[in-house]
């Protein structure tokens, strides 16, 4: 496919327009639940945009994280928050107007900058001429990984990816530290949460047939990251989503009995520990941190195959952490932190 036949600019304009409408609607809506859903729609649209730009890996992540999991987590949280925002006081109105003015100034500033940006999908732009050709030309020969995105993500820039996994881990830790703190007797919100008695035969039947397939698909996505869009982040999110689906279709307790809080915590830290541990092992074997080529002797393969295996191992680490963090976030937010009951 060449870029000029595949890109329909009318399509882009349409999506862009719809994205703007979604963004404004999400701000203007009064209900938090509906706002969360509109944000999800926004994510789906941007996901289409990425696909259209042939950034399929990014689109995949956006679909899994932005459109699916974030929306569910928002929904799980919104049940505790006053659903209808109170009418603004005059002072807050003033601040709102100020925000709009600042927003407009920033938008104008950023739009001005587009004047001398390279054209859309221009093959001669610096982003496609400076470093990318190097990655594309050498990526396969140096890392034995056909998917360039994976080799850049997990090897050339593996240090960034390790810390991205740490960011995800930190998010779960912070939510845990903040929510699982106050004594539950003093909480006002807990009686607001919906009670799930659970006689939803259709939902349960659907969950029973979907969840195993979902989990196998997640493992496929995780392992097939070397050859196709996918990898630890996407696979982990899908795997985590299967437990959240279980909680949604049955109830929180049911899901927690299968994936206990204690194990979730171990997985959150364990995934990152695996990633950083491989980095440290490379350091111990005489190469630099995360220089997977050091594993060659240990695994009995060539340097570039060692890099390929190293990428797989760290992707598994990322997958474990992301999966556990998604579940942990949902457990905490949906139950208000007491892990007793929830959506």
């Amino acid at each position: 496919m060449t870029w000029d036949t595949s890109l329909l600019w009318q399509f882009d304009i349409l999506i862009l327009l719809m994205m703007v409408i979604c963004a404004v609607t999400a701000l203007a809506l009064e209900g938090l639940l509906s706002s969360a859903i509109v944000t999800g729609v926004y994510s789906f649209l941007i996901c289409l945009m990425w696909t259209h730009m042939m950034a399929v890996d990014v689109a995949f992540t956006e679909a899994a994280v932005g459109a699916a999991i974030s929306t569910v987590i928002f929904l799980g949280t919104a049940q505790y928050i006053n659903r209808w925002i109170k009418k603004d006081r005059p002072r807050e109105q003033g601040i709102k107007q100020l925000t709009i003015v600042i927003g407009v100034i920033c938008a104008v500033m950023m739009l001005t900058a587009t004047r001398d940006l390279p054209d859309w999908a221009d093959p001669a732009s610096p982003a496609s001429t400076h470093l990318s050709p190097g990655y594309i030309a050498q990526g396969y020969h140096e890392t034995a990984t056909p998917n360039v995105v994976t080799s850049v993500l997990a090897d050339y820039r593996g240090y960034d990816t390790m810390f991205e996994a740490v960011v995800v881990f930190a998010a779960a830790l912070v939510v845990m530290v903040v929510l699982r703190r106050t004594s539950h007797k003093h909480r006002k919100v807990l009686h607001l949460r919906p009670k799930r008695e659970g006689r939803d035969t259709v939902l349960r039947g659907a969950a029973q047939s979907i969840i195993p397939v979902m989990q196998i698909f997640a493992l496929y996505v995780l392992c097939h990251g070397h050859y196709s869009p996918g990898g630890g982040f996407q696979g982990g999110v899908i795997f985590g989503a299967s437990f959240i689906l279980l909680a949604l279709c049955y109830n929180l307790k049911f899901s927690m009995n299968r994936f206990r809080e204690h194990l979730v915590l171990w997985c959150c830290a364990g995934g990152v520990l695996l990633y950083a541990g491989i980095g440290a092992a490379c350091l111990g074997l005489g190469k630099n941190f995360l220089g997977y080529a050091a594993l060659a002797d240990l695994l009995g393969v060539t340097g570039k195959m060692a890099r390929s295996h190293g990428i797989l191992a760290v992707e598994v680490g990322v997958g474990i952490t992301v999966m556990a963090v998604m579940v942990s976030l949902y457990y905490d937010l949906a139950s208000g932190g007491d892990l007793e009951d929830g959506l």
């Binding site: 500033m109 950023m110 001005t112 900058a113 587009t114 004047r115 001398d116 940006l117 390279p118 732009s125 610096p126 982003a127 496609s128 001429t129 400076h130 470093l131 990318s132 190097g134 990655y135 090897d155 050339y156 820039r157 593996g158 240090y159 960034d160 810390f163 991205e164 740490v166 960011v167 881990f169 930190a170 998010a171 830790l173 912070v174 845990m176 530290v177 903040v178 699982r180 703190r181 915590l265 171990w266 959150c268 830290a269 990152v272 520990l273 950083a276 980095g279 440290a280 490379c282 350091l283 190469k287 630099n288 941190f289 995360l290 220089g291 997977y292 080529a293």
Partner: protein
Amino acid sequence: MIDHAPVLMIVLPVFASLVLTLAGPLGHRAAYGLLILSIAGSLAAALATLVQVVEAGRPVHYHMGDWMPPMGIELVIDHLSAGILVMISGCALLTAIYSMHTARQDNPDRLHHYYALFALLVAGLMGMTATGDVFNLYVLLEISAISSYGLLARGRGKAYYATFRYLMMGTIGASFYLLGVGYIYIMTGSLNMADLSDILSRPEFKDSVSVRIGFTLIILGIWTKMALFPMHAWMPNAYSRAGTTTACLIAPLMTKVSVYVMLRIMFTVFSVDYIFQQIAWSRLVIYLASAAAVLGMITALSQRDLRKMLTYIIVAEIGYLTGGAWLANTAGYTGAVYHILADGLMTLCLFMAVGAIIYRTGVSTSVAMEGIFQRMPVTAGVFLIAAASVVGIPPFCGFFSKWYLLQGGVEAGEWVFVAALIIAGLVAAVMFFRLLEMAFFGRLDDAVMENGSQNAHAAALNIRMDEAPLTMLLPLVITGAALFGLGIYTNEVVQYLIRWSLPAGM
């Protein structure tokens, strides 16, 4: 092993944090020991790197995963970052030792998770300072930000609300930084700082609107993060409601590291030429900085809560630092870099002293200072040193940074900035004199009777001298000595570190 020191100082706290997360069953002593051990390792690695940099006279490079930059990510530790890395790990180690009693008091539950976030924050700050890659900087910025949200939210009273505001402002700041990096990447195709600097010095980028707007976005993002006036509104409540250990860790380090990032972006990624010739904002920035210095100090003077007062002092100090960096001369730059080190120590010292006083008296308003010289002579003595340093009395380090900044202001002919520095110094003198007067001559009994806090009441009845525990006192005294030592060795610091890091063309 010495070759790997640059990465060890970052990943040791990461490992500690992961282990601490799971270390609940081992008890709080093990958690405390593990935290101290990892940060001490980090400090040792930072010191080793500093020695290496100074001896070799050139930056140390570390290639992650054995990939050559700009394809891979590299850590670059030069004379500027080496000093700041030692400052960060040193301050963190002192705070970690200090935390023995206060952290347990502030975190009756989940102390090990608190310590895990503590270690993550240190890793984030170290990583931001050591990296040579603008996107990697963003990732570590997120780590330090997220862990600081968690730490601050465990504060007292309405800490949740204050932290939520900080979270919003912090996220906006980080997004601006990321957007700016995006623009720069579209125009150059690179993320490595040295490579970017090569590309951006080409003539075709001199007048590029996109590059200019990319720079603007990055700088606005960093200013939000470092709480430059008028974007400081999130800071006072967030910091003053934090737990004692949290405040000691975050207040000296977060904003200073942001200032370091500003210097990096200004002088390593962009150039002196670009900042002061192509972008003609330095006048405006210096006015902002002067306003920050004067208004910050005056607001500090009007506070009753001790820690809120200290937080407003940070607002003023950020003004000094920003002004120094934008003066565009050697003295200003020297002053700014020196003041990053000096102010980190001063802020740490003040927050530790106040933390110790609050720990013993249970009162957090200025009333807690009454008669403190009789009750806690060592703490009060160190507080006096820190106060003298903030006001700018020789031989403490605060004097020398102010001296350089004033010299820079006079050389550049920025009289507004010079006046602001002098006024802010005088206001600080008035403020600390008021406090020290209470500390020397205040009648303890009156204070206790008026503010019938039970803790203070018991203290007054039973014990005359009631010094803080040794784990708090020791780091406090070391910090006080460091203020003195940094002042004495000003020449050496300037000669061996700051001179070497002067950007080309200044």
